[in-house]
């Protein structure tokens, strides 16, 4: 078992105990929030998993990936992770469903599974995040925001493939 998680959990508990946080109550409070988040995302997870499964079972996904494979191979990106990479900037729930498919198809510890896992965290849902915050700021022209965010997304995706040997 990797030590990263142990260290992190110890850090959480240690910080809590030092600052006299009632750790059990705090845990329950957070867990309750986690459960309600999971319940909130379940309908969209169902919707997206259905659509993605339909798309791949009728053979369209295969064609889409075959089309993009040369470019992916050039950048060292495994072709199984291409759908995830493409959907990442568009929708959080779609990319979550996509990651689940890759983990179950290729195995969570295969190279494709590892790259997909790293890719998932390397950038946010670019269009959604920018949309929400731009609306909050009330500005009309986003100037260089979207191109720069997409450059970050591309760099993150390629870095994800490089980070997994």
């Amino acid at each position: 078992m990797n030590g990263t998680l142990c260290v992190f959990l110890l850090l959480c508990l240690g910080c809590g105990l030092i600052h006299r946080v009632p750790v059990y109550d705090a845990f329950l409070e957070g867990a309750k929030e986690g459960i309600s988040t999971a319940r909130r995302i379940l309908p969209s997870l169902i919707a997206m998993l259905c659509v993605i499964r339909a798309f791949s079972s009728c053979g369209l996904m295969e064609r889409l990936c075959a089309l993009l494979e040369p470019a992916a191979a050039w950048a060292g990106i495994p072709k199984e992770t291409l759908p995830l990479m493409l959907f990442k900037p568009l929708s959080g729930s779609a990319s979550l469903a996509m990651l689940r498919e890759i983990l179950n198809e290729c195995g969570p510890d295969s190279r494709a599974g590892l790259v997909a896992s790293v890719m998932m965290g390397s950038s946010e849902t670019v269009f959604y995040t920018c949309g929400v915050y731009l609306a909050a700021a009330g500005v009309k022209k986003s100037r260089h925001t979207i191109p720069c965010a997409l450059a970050a997304w591309l760099a993150g995706s390629i870095a994800a493939s490089l980070a997994v040997p």
């Binding site: 950038s123 946010e124 191109p147 970050a152």
Partner: protein, 187 residues
């Protein structure tokens, strides 16, 4: 956006399935997926609740505030003169919450920060652009949702991706920031 992805993909898949004579197969694949999604959702809920619980201990210990205090001088330098003084606090809080993976706390702070940076202008200022790009490129110390999904999929080492993930998200953020700084200079 989502309705086009959902409608477009489902429609395309059904039409394509019918045209190639695999319509029934496509529909049964969809129904199977719906069933499996519930299983994944439940498995995810357990691990997700666990991480949220642990992170909440960290939050109650005031870690976000201390991390924020440590970060704010660096942020002031990064954002430069364009950042209104009253926006520094929500910007710091938003980025720290994102770092710790407290999505529920990060979004309201981000909205507040964006509102204070917008100030009724027509075009986004340099600071707002930079803030959006940093948020869009994601900065998270531990990708808890991914670890939860990997656990549900039966990985031998669910958290093994933590360090590569940190490296990849650092690369995406640095590239985003550099692109922003270049775009600012060009004008």
């Amino acid at each position: 956006m989502l309705q086009w992805i959902f409608g477009g993909m489902a429609g395309l898949a059904l039409v394509w399935g019918m045209a190639t004579g695999a319509g029934g197969q496509t529909v049964s694949a969809m129904l199977n997926a719906a069933e499996e999604a519930v299983g994944t959702g439940i498995a995810l809920a357990g691990a997700y609740a666990f991480f949220c619980g642990m992170l909440n201990i960290l939050r109650r210990a005031g870690t976000a505030e201390r991390l924020g205090a440590a970060l704010s001088p660096a942020l002031r330098r990064l954002f430069g003169d364009g950042l209104p003084a009253e926006a520094l606090e929500p910007v710091t809080m938003n980025l720290t919450a994102n770092l710790l993976g407290l999505g529920n706390a990060a979004t309201p702070m981000g909205i507040e920060a964006a509102r204070r940076m917008g100030q009724g202008a027509d075009a986004a200022g340099n600071a707002l652009c930079l803030f959006l790009v940093i948020n869009a490129s994601s900065v998270q110390l531990l990708p808890t949702t991914v670890i939860a999904l990997r656990t549900a999929a039966g990985s031998a080492n669910p958290a093994g991706i933590a360090l590569p993930a940190l490296a990849a998200t650092a690369v995406s953020t640095v590239v985003g920031v550099l692109c922003c700084k270049c775009a600012e200079k060009r004008r």
